[in-house]
Amino acid sequence: MDLGIFCKGTLDQEPVEHCFSALFAFGKNPDPSYLDWLMKAWGWTLAVAALGLILALLLGALMGTLRTLPPENKFNRFLVRFSTAWVELFRNIPILVQVFLWYHVVPAFIPVLKAFPSYLLVSIALGFFTSARIAEQVRAGIQSLPSGQKSAATALGLTTFQSYRYVILPMALRIVIPPLTSESMNLIKNSSVAFAVSVPELTLFAMQAQEETSHGVEIYLAVTLLYALSAFAVNRVMAYIEKRSRIPGFIVGNSEVAAH
């Protein structure tokens, strides 16, 4: 073990003056160390994952809700079919293949996408892939509610939109926070596929730096630690949200078990 490798320059592999300059001279240091590079790579991982997560949560909640719409008119039936197709499309293709599709194939048909930077395309791929999985969890959450809830909302004279907005979703979304936590953590880890389309994130750093320095053990340990740290941070944030959103007396409120 030689952790000194992180204080060596990425150009000549000589020890550098300031081992850590990433925060103060981000990208401007003419002689960055491997630690600087590692921090920058971590930043890319977090950026791609955060963008993907926002997209995944929004689209996942939307698609999951649409899948449970009552088939009372033609438009609703179309929405149900559309959201079902969405889920089946994006959860049946491996994430790596989806990333390649967004990067190489889709821009061949939609030239506008060629101008999109690769990190954005990867975020879209990650977001869509994860949205399909979140949609299924949201659907399961909604369908786990007693049917009396829906009937009561209707009896109060609420429209379908209103009953979802004021009764069903506030209950269902609280129930699905634990599986959403897993999904969000998965997204952080899945963001490692971004290396395949040249986003300079942690996995790319690991592969490149270990080739240059022959210090694979130290490099992979550091990268593993940062992935674990990032995913665990998401876990804590979600646990906090779960705790704060709990309402005593509701289905989730009855449980005294804290989120893990």
Binding site: L11, H104, S118, F195, A196, S198, P200, M207, Q208, E212
Partner: protein
């Protein structure tokens, strides 16, 4: 005068004979070849045209053919009738350990001779000098590194070319965006699909990918050589006699004028199994390596 030289010649001959007897006695590789009638050659599965499989566990290529010539030569020297060659596919990760632990007697792939590896293994005379070059689309107008300013340059993650590009960018003030392919095929796809304007990599890899592409005429290898690396046949370190025998064979092959023919066969003519032409012209550096046989490591090539 004549008599003295005769005596001298006799002494030299005796000395040679003695040393060769000693050599045979000390060389475990030569002993092993004699006692088992077999030798194990380390080969690569897809390093076209240096060392690759042509299907059915058969291997061929520039380095593989040279190794067969060397082993044939050694077989004759040892006075053996037959020598069976076992082929052992190796990878970048396991080639050095396999030579060190004796699984592979002679490695004929695409291994760069550098000082770090020379601590663990021995290298024969260099017969191929790899040059890192730039591949571009033929109509791109890019002719040198300077033209890469403001362009997107692809290379493969986990290769030394990435570091090389970074150094060049810093040293020459040429600003380009780097894009990284997961492997060489991906990097070439970046160039093909217009995601990158250039692909920087070992010349033989560039030539191979171009030869394999849909329209090889659409691409060109241009510009100055970014780096040079001697690629050499690898043998055990603790067996200098075997290495000397390999080097002696190489010297013989070169002296017989075989090298330009071998280059034509593997780099400029259609090769099995798909009959593609790699189309990589003989470089001055490789020519120089033939003219001045040596086992200098990569570090010596890039000293300025």
């Amino acid at each position: 005068m004549k008599r003295i030289s005769m005596v001298k010649a006799g002494l030299i001959a005796t000395g040679l004979l003695l040393s060769s007897i000693n050599a045979q006695a000390a060389s475990q590789t030569l002993d092993k070849m004699k006692s088992t009638g077999a030798v194990t050659m380390g080969v690569r599965e897809s390093s076209i045209p240096m060392s690759y499989t042509t299907g059915d566990s058969r291997f061929d290529g520039y380095h593989v053919e040279i190794c067969r010539m060397i082993l044939g030569d050694i077989k004759d020297k040892l006075g053996m009738n037959t020598l069976r060659i076992n082929y052992q596919p190796v990878t970048s990760q396991n080639r050095v350990p396999l030579v060190q632990n004796g699984t592979v007697d002679i490695e004929c792939g695409t291994t760069t001779n550098n000082t770090a590896r020379a601590k663990d293994v021995g290298f024969a005379y260099t017969l191929y000098v790899e040059e890192v070059r730039i591949a571009v689309k033929a109509n791109s107008g890019i002719k040198s590194i300077a033209d890469l300013n403001g362009k997107k340059v692809a290379t493969t993650t986990g290769t030394t070319s990435v570091q090389l590009l970074r150094k060049h960018e810093r040293a020459n003030g040429v600003n380009f965006d780097e894009v990284f392919g997961k492997d060489h095929a991906d990097s070439f796809l970046l160039l093909e699909s217009g995601r990158a304007d250039a692909f920087v990599m070992d010349g033989s890899i560039l030539a191979g990918n171009i030869a394999n592409s849909k329209n090889p005429k659409d691409y060109k290898i241009v510009g100055e050589v970014l780096s040079t690396e001697p690629i050499a046949i690898m043998v055990r370190k603790d067996d200098p006699e075997f290495r000397a025998a390999v080097d002696a064979s190489i010297a013989k092959i070169v002296a017989n004028g075989n090298m330009p023919k071998l280059w034509n066969k593997w780099f400029l003519s259609p090769i099995p199994p798909k009959n593609i032409v790699v189309g990589l012209e003989l470089s001055p550096a490789t020519k120089n390596a033939w003219a001045n046989l040596n086992d200098k490591p990569a570090e010596d090539y890039n000293k300025k």
